[in-house]
């Protein structure tokens, strides 16, 4: 039978067109005995790395290409013959994509003027071909253009074939068979129709004209092709495939070289910067151990030729430091001693010696195999100032050579159900009901959930929707920008990978995501935004201003006992990473007492260790209730620092290598599979390999099963030790600040909102509970930000709330108030409104928040006064006409509370629950302070404002509700049966009463609910919005 290579084939990276993944296409093409497969997504190479991987896996040659449609309708396919052609193709795609809005492209005939040397062209003629189009292409691609004949069992294929062959002969252009493939097998026909309808924004029933009439656009068996095409057309495909010699491994990427000054090599320059850093870090001289590590690291970096990468990171961090922008590196390479010397991280090797050797061993082992693990450095910047860093990178390397990595946004259960439902003609209300089923589903049968949502599981229509949605799940939907991964290259990036516009103006992204970059050995620097760094920097500024102490992240005293005591009590509202409810309930059990304990604390409350059931064994061993044992002597080295229990992603990979005989490369594959299995599956292979490998090395099946469970648990939440260490550093810093400088910390935290887990109200209450005085917003004292004021009597620091706490207040207006006040204190309301040019809205906001108390008295009088202010003409002075006096009743406590919550979401007055306390006490409701003295298993009744409803994915069907009263928080656990039985109070209550039994184990306490009560009526109109974290 004739050889055949498919030269025109779309993968699902031609979004909403291709209905099969590259892997499916390659497997099918291989099974059909094709000699090569071209992937020619429309003006895109976004899927080419996946195609390359599929090609390696199936051992079937990949031809790199793309399909295009010019603005005048001319369609053709370009295939890469050589590296030069690949660069030209990337250039053309970049040109088309950059000239058009995100997700679209625009190309004209002028774009092909140079004929793109190194590419081959296939002309895709219309139903009524225009010979002049063919002629035009023939001139541009002389000797390397074909007329593609694509027959799909149309009304009269024989006539079409005759017509096109005659045309080819007339033009003197060879003809070739091609498939216009949109799916790997005919069975994807329904999905392909659905995608087409989605792309056109129609229902399938409406889309008749644009749907393909049959399922012929799949990879057809060669016997079938032989019936359709004459032999010479099929043979031509193989000849073209032969010519396409370009393969993806010919791409070589080089890091920018310009950071090395003249007279230096990259190696010597990195050495010099490191030595300078050593002087700074250890002015009294470096210890022999650290010196030795640095030497080892530098050698390794040299062997791997990663100097440029380290220099680039150093340069970015240096810039940030010059601009006083806080930053902190994390990741395996970031935790090296070299990075500590360079200032990339503040995690000193003296406080975490265990970490640094990891970078060495892991990387060196991997280096034996041809693909070393790329160095991994993420740099977190203050979230409010990251943009400055991004602009610096663009300026320094130029837009040609810098772009953000892409993130492939894929269909998830919910979005797939929504799009398919729409395309199959469900009504908007049915679609939203369906998508809410997918959004909220946590176990339980789908049939049951659908019925609850008023959808009939058994109806044929819904069955079709569900089947297609399942097929669509995991398909790429569009490209988006990565949160901060920059790719920087020595040559223009567009020779390496197409660049396109992102949704944000002035942002460009490359068409590859981070997995693609890994695979192609492109290095990226992650510049991420972290709110806590903003907070820490603001806190340092406040401390300098008000307490005259200067600190940096590195200068914070280590091992501060008071700080660890605070952490052990779970008194951590506002502390980075360990402030969530789950973290807080772990702290009294784990009782961190040094830095490495914090690293573990950060990593342990994650789906990985929880699902792998690693938490309890670790805690038992830590409390010496259980002996520390190791599955084998070989694993002792890997597991020693975590008492024999694997907690980190790196450990799991090392176990695979040590216990199951994985190579470095296989372990790396495992890491990627770990991140992707939830989306793509594909872990079965590793399951077998792990079990067999471990069996060979005499490990128990139970241990293998446990490790495998944990690997699955890591999923996309995998948390490596190297990242945990970076986070732990910031967690410690923020804990220290909270412990030692509570006023400055709370103030900085308020000024960095929105961030973290808690609302301004909760932060303020927490500060008050720590005896920090908080003062209300007042036009006589407040600025935009919250500020610190020193109390003249006892010289403690108090927080003055800023105008930023007032919902809807404008920053410029706040600045005008501050400036006017600096010139001269305000005489009265009219003076204030005139000099600060406040509009009516801001006048009202000030009156409603009682910020005018010093000028006009209570809230009612302030409101009367501001509404009487008329727009002033400068000539007529700044007074109001005399008015008849009016007697206004002062507002009640409850009214003030209501107004405070409505305008600022917090109140400095009594807590709302306190106002109800007498009544609650009469009904035997206990407050949170009384609860804390209850013994284990007591039956109690309590009530509080609902501040959070949280349903973690790891807790099957359990909801954690946080109630707040005047003394603190109460953690309530609601099981699924109760939630379903008492749906209304569960979902609706703002003030919730709970009856249940009190559990108190290891200093961790919560209330397991038996009955819920909606008591919101008592609150009247109180505006304490629950922060629902779902």
């Amino acid at each position: 039978m004739n050889a055949y290579a498919e030269l025109h084939c779309l993968s699902n990276f031609s979004f909403q067109r291709g209905a099969s993944s590259a892997m499916e296409l390659f497997q099918r093409a291989k099974a059909c005995g094709y000699s090569a497969l071209a992937i020619t997504d429309e003006c895109s190479l976004a899927g080419i790395v996946r195609a390359y991987e599929a090609s390696l896996e199936t051992k079937l040659d990949l031809i790199v290409g793309a399909e295009f449609k010019l603005d005048d309708g001319l369609r053709f396919v370009l295939l890469c013959e050589s590296r030069e052609g690949y660069a030209a193709l990337c250039g053309l795609i970049t040109q088309g994509r950059r000239a058009s809005a995100k997700g679209t492209y625009h190309l004209t005939r002028a774009s092909l003027a140079n004929g793109l040397p190194g590419t081959l062209a296939l002309w895709l003629p219309d139903a009524e071909p225009d010979a002049s189009d063919g002629h035009w292409l023939g001139e541009r691609f002389a000797g390397r253009v074909w007329l593609a004949i694509e027959l799909h069992r149309g009304p009269d294929d024989a006539a079409r074939l005759r017509q096109l062959e005659r045309l080819a002969a007339d033009l003197g252009m060879p003809a070739v068979a091609a498939g216009d493939v949109h799916m790997h097998v005919r069975g994807r026909r329904a999905l392909q129709d659905t995608l087409t309808a989605i792309r056109h924004g129609l229902t399938v029933a409406q889309a008749g004209v644009v749907l393909f009439k049959n399922g012929e656009r799949h990879l057809r068996a060669r016997e079938v092709l032989a019936e359709i095409y004459p032999v010479h057309l099929l043979e031509e495909t193989a000849r073209i495939a032969e010519r396409c010699r370009f393969t993806m491994d010919q791409l070589h990427y080089r890091y920018p070289a310009e950071l090395v000054p003249e007279g230096h090599s990259a190696t010597s320059w990195l050495r010099q910067l490191t030595e300078e850093g050593i002087q700074r870090r250890w002015p009294d001289g470096i210890s022999p151990e650290n010196r030795e590590t640095i030497e080892k690291e530098l050698t390794l970096i040299g062997e791997l030729e990663y100097e440029h990468y380290f220099l680039t990171v150093e340069d970015i961090v240096c810039f940030a430091r010059r601009q006083n922008i806080f930053c902190q590196g994390r990741g395996s390479a970031a935790n090296s001693v070299v990075c500590y010397a360079l200032g990339v991280t503040s995690v000193s090797p003296d406080e975490a010696t265990l970490l640094t050797e990891r970078f060495m061993s892991a990387s060196r082992k991997d280096h034996k195999y041809n693909r070393p693990e790329p160095p991994d450095i993420d740099i977190d910047f203050e979230h409010e100032r990251r943009e400055e860093v991004i602009q610096y990178i663009y300026r320094k390397y130029g837009r040609e050579r810098t772009a953000l990595a892409a993130t492939v946004i894929s269909y998830r259960g919910r979005s797939a159900a929504r799009d398919v439902g729409k395309a199959l003609g469900l009504s908007p209300d049915q679609v939203s009901a369906l998508s809410s089923v997918f959004a909220w589903r946590n176990g339980g049968s789908l049939r049951h959930h659908l019925q609850e949502a008023g959808l009939d599981f058994d109806s044929p229509l819904l069955q079709r929707v569900l089947i297609l949605a399942e097929e669509l799940r995991g398909f790429p939907r569009h490209l988006s920008q990565h949160v901060g991964g920059f790719v920087i290259s020595d040559a223009p990036l567009s020779q390496l990978v197409p660049v396109e516009n992102a949704a944000m103006p002035d942002r460009t992204i490359i068409q590859w995501d981070k997995d693609d970059l890994d695979r192609m050995n492109l290095l990226k620097v992650d510049c991420l935004a972290l709110g806590m760094l903003t907070c820490v920097r603001k806190c340092f500024d406040l401390m300098k201003q008000h307490e005259n102490v200067s600190h940096t992240l590195a200068s914070i005293p280590l091992n501060d006992n008071e700080t660890y005591k605070m952490i052990q009590k779970a008194d951590t509202i506002g502390v980075f990473q360990i402030e969530s409810r789950a973290q807080m309930s772990m702290l009294p059990r784990l009782r961190p007492k040094n830095f490495y304990d914090l690293v573990i604390q950060v990593a342990i409350v994650r789906p990985g260790p929880i699902q792998g059931d690693m938490v309890h064994p670790y805690l038992r061993r830590r409390r010496k209730e259980e002996d520390v044992t190791y599955p084998s002597e070989a694993l002792r080295e890997v597991l020693e620092r975590t008492l024999g229990v694997p907690l980190f992603q790196e450990q799991v990979m090392r176990i695979a290598m040590v216990a199951a005989g994985y190579t470095g490369q296989q372990a790396d594959e495992l890491r990627r599979a770990m991140a992707a299995w939830k989306r793509h599956g594909g872990m079965e292979k590793h399951r077998d390999r792990l079990f067999n490998g471990m069996k060979e090395n005499n490990y128990s099946e139970a241990f293998a099963a446990q490790i495998f469970e944990q690997i699955k648990g890591f999923g996309s939440y995998g948390f490596p030790e190297s990242h945990a260490a970076g986070f732990a550093k910031i967690a410690y810093a923020s804990a220290w600040l909270k412990c030692r400088h509570p006023a400055a910390f709370a103030c900085a935290l308020l000024n960095s909102q929105p961030m973290g887990f808690y609302s301004a109200s909760q932060i303020v209450q927490d500060a008050q509970r720590h005896h920090v005085q908080v003062l209300p917003v007042d036009v006589r004292h407040s600025d935009w930000d919250c500020t610190l004021e020193r109390d003249v009597r006892d010289s403690t620091l108090a927080i003055r709330l800023g105008f930023r706490q007032v919902r809807g207040f404008n920053e410029q207006a706040a600045q005008r108030i501050s400036q006017a006040r600096e010139r001269q204190a305000f005489l009265d309301i009219v003076d204030l409104c005139t000099r600060a040019s406040l509009d009516r809205r801001h006048q009202d906001l000030l009156a409603d928040t009682s910020a005018l108390r010093g000028l006009a008295g209570h809230r009612h009088r302030a409101k009367w006064a501001v509404t009487g202010v008329e727009p002033q003409l400068p000539l007529f002075g700044r007074t109001s006409p005399d008015e008849q006096t009016i007697v206004l009743p002062p507002p009640s406590v409850a009214e003030n509370l209501h107004a405070d919550y409505a305008r600022t979401g917090l109140s400095l007055g009594p807590h709302p629950v306190r106002l109800l306390r007498a009544r609650l006490r009469a009904d035997r409701y206990k407050d949170s302070r009384e609860l804390s003295h209850q013994s284990h298993q007591t039956r109690v009744r309590t009530a509080g404002l609902v501040t959070q409803r949280q349903q973690p994915q790891t807790a099957s069907g359990i909801t954690f509700i946080t109630l707040e009263d005047e003394h603190g928080n109460i953690n309530v656990i609601v099981r699924r049966q109760l939630a379903e039985r008492q749906r209304r109070p569960y979902l609706e209550a703002r003030l919730m009463g709970v009856e249940g039994h009190w559990e108190n184990v290891d200093g961790v306490s919560h209330l397991v609910a038996h009955r819920l009560l909606d008591m919101s009526d008592l609150l009247g109109q109180l505006d304490a919005r629950s922060r629902d974290f779902h």
């Binding site: 009304p155 009269d156 329904a190 209300d429 002062p890």
Partner: protein
């Protein structure tokens, strides 16, 4: 003067419910764009389950798995409102329409229907029968009645001296004050109408403008409010003028569509129809050409009115160019249609289909009768339809399709036909359960006829005949 206010707090919902058999199934009216659907009104079973106005539909769905959601239509609600005004017109010549309310002057009607308790009972009786929930209050000013109906159902303040006392305790939030005045007043501690009436006028005027002062005056009757009374239309006249002259009748078609559309809207507003009307085409010299239109039965469907009128107009010769067009309808059918329930919206004169088609053909010409249309459905069985698709995307590609498509394919008998073209493979239609997979061929039979036939994919027979080419 004495004013009765009938407040209709559930007008929209009642308008929907009254057309259905009473039921305990939860039902809500839904409004808002596709992204932010929310509940406008909920019936009692729905409210008992926690559904309430203002709630997002998604939240409601989380609370209650099954309930009926009806799209709210403001135009319908408006129509019910006007119809109730017409009802009130029976009792008083001075009827005012305010949001969610109808206010009527009753002092002159008391002799006829009174005394007030009896009159009130009469009103309540009517409304209950019509299926509209209501609150009624009586006061010496229209506004006071409006406010009191909201706060004190059944209250009757018969004399002006008592009015101030009755209004004083009412919270400002319920006093129907202009704009956001109520919120601002509450924020100043001014909570009741009593406090407000005592506050210095200058200060209030400065802060809330003349509108608030007027409102207070109208409330207690220190100033006389000028009201716009409801007038039941008995004659309609609509006009359109141009700055240029129109010479062709064809050019009048578009303005005509607008005019007849407006006529239909007016008719719908009074829930009546029109039987005879006239189109007057005005010429430059003041003369005019009249075209009168007569219908067999009252009509109010815009398309119907337009088509009737157009077909009459097309037969009209224009002696001179036209500068204006008027539509005058004198003969509006009885305001309350004879016979059935006032609110019955069924067409008055239903005809059997055949009779209707013939009548339409006779009156409107052949073009008014629908012909078959090509659809965009790729399946031959669904390729034709009497009604156009609501969405038509692109033009179907020109495919070889037989002139005469059989409704049902039938086996092709006789000798094996000669294949002219094909196979054309059709695999489609899975979305409604009607998936088909066939290879179609154009063939020539032994008799020399061209036929469209199909068989299973990849096969060459047995053949099914699906159509003939001309």
């Amino acid at each position: 003067m004495l004013w009765a206010c009938v407040l209709l707090p559930h007008l929209a919902l009642d308008g929907v419910l009254r057309r259905r058999p009473s039921s305990d199934e939860p039902l809500v009216l839904v409004t808002g764009s596709a992204q932010s659907r929310s509940i406008l009104a909920a019936n009692r079973p729905a409210r008992a389950a926690g559904l309430r106005p203002g709630q997002r539909l998604a939240v409601a769905q989380a609370l209650l798995s099954r309930f009926e959601a009806v799209e709210h239509d403001p135009a319908t609600t408006e129509r019910w409102h006007r119809l109730l005004a017409a009802w009130a017109y029976r009792y008083s010549a001075e009827v005012v329409l305010w949001p969610h309310a109808i206010v009527l002057e009753v002092s002159r009607s008391l002799g006829l229907f009174g005394p007030w308790p009896r009159f009130e009972a009469l009103l309540r009786d009517d409304l209950s029968q019509l299926g509209f929930r209501h609150r009624i209050a009586l006061a010496p000013t229209a506004r006071a009645a409006y406010v009191l109906a909201g706060t004190h159902d059944g209250m009757a303040v018969m004399s002006p001296e008592l009015l101030r006392g009755a209004l004083s305790p009412i919270p400002v939030g319920k006093a129907r004050l202009p704009d956001e005045a109520a919120d601002n007043l509450a924020a100043m501690g001014l909570r009741t109408l009593g406090q407000l009436l005592h506050a210095p006028r200058d200060g209030l005027r400065r802060r809330f403008g003349e509108a608030l002062i007027e409102h207070l005056d109208y409330l207690i009757g220190t100033a006389q409010e000028v009201l716009r009374y409801y007038r039941p239309p008995d004659r309609l006249e609509l006009a359109m003028e141009w700055t240029h002259e129109i010479e062709q009748v064809e050019a009048l078609v578009f303005p005509l569509r607008r005019l007849t559309g407006d006529l239909a809207a007016c008719l719908a507003g009074r829930d009546g129809g029109v039987q005879r009307f006239m189109i007057r085409l005005v010429h430059r010299d003041g003369t005019s050409t009249d075209v009168s239109i007569g219908l067999l039965a009252p009509e109010r469907d815009p398309t119907m009115l337009f088509e009737h009128t157009r077909s009459r107009m097309e037969r009209t010769e224009l002696p001179q160019p036209v500068i204006a067009m008027r539509l005058v309808a004198h003969e509006l059918p009885p305001f309350v249609p004879a016979g059935r329930d006032l609110f019955d919206t069924r067409p008055a004169n239903a005809l059997p289909l055949g009779q209707l088609r013939e009548r339409l053909r006779a009156r409107l010409g052949d073009r008014a009768i629908q012909t078959l249309h090509a659809t965009t459905d790729p399946r031959p069985e669904h390729a034709q339809s009497a009604a156009r698709d609501d969405v038509v995307i692109g033009q179907p590609a020109s495919l070889p399709r037989p002139t005469w498509l059989l409704d049902t394919p039938m086996p092709l008998r006789g000798l094996a036909p000669r294949i002219v073209a094909g196979p054309e493979r059709l695999e489609t239609g899975w979305w409604d359960g009607g998936d088909m997979r066939r290879d179609y061929y154009v063939v020539e039979t032994a008799q020399g006829q061209r036929a469209w036939v199909f068989c299973a994919p990849g096969e060459r027979g047995p053949w099914m005949l699906h159509g003939w080419f001309a």
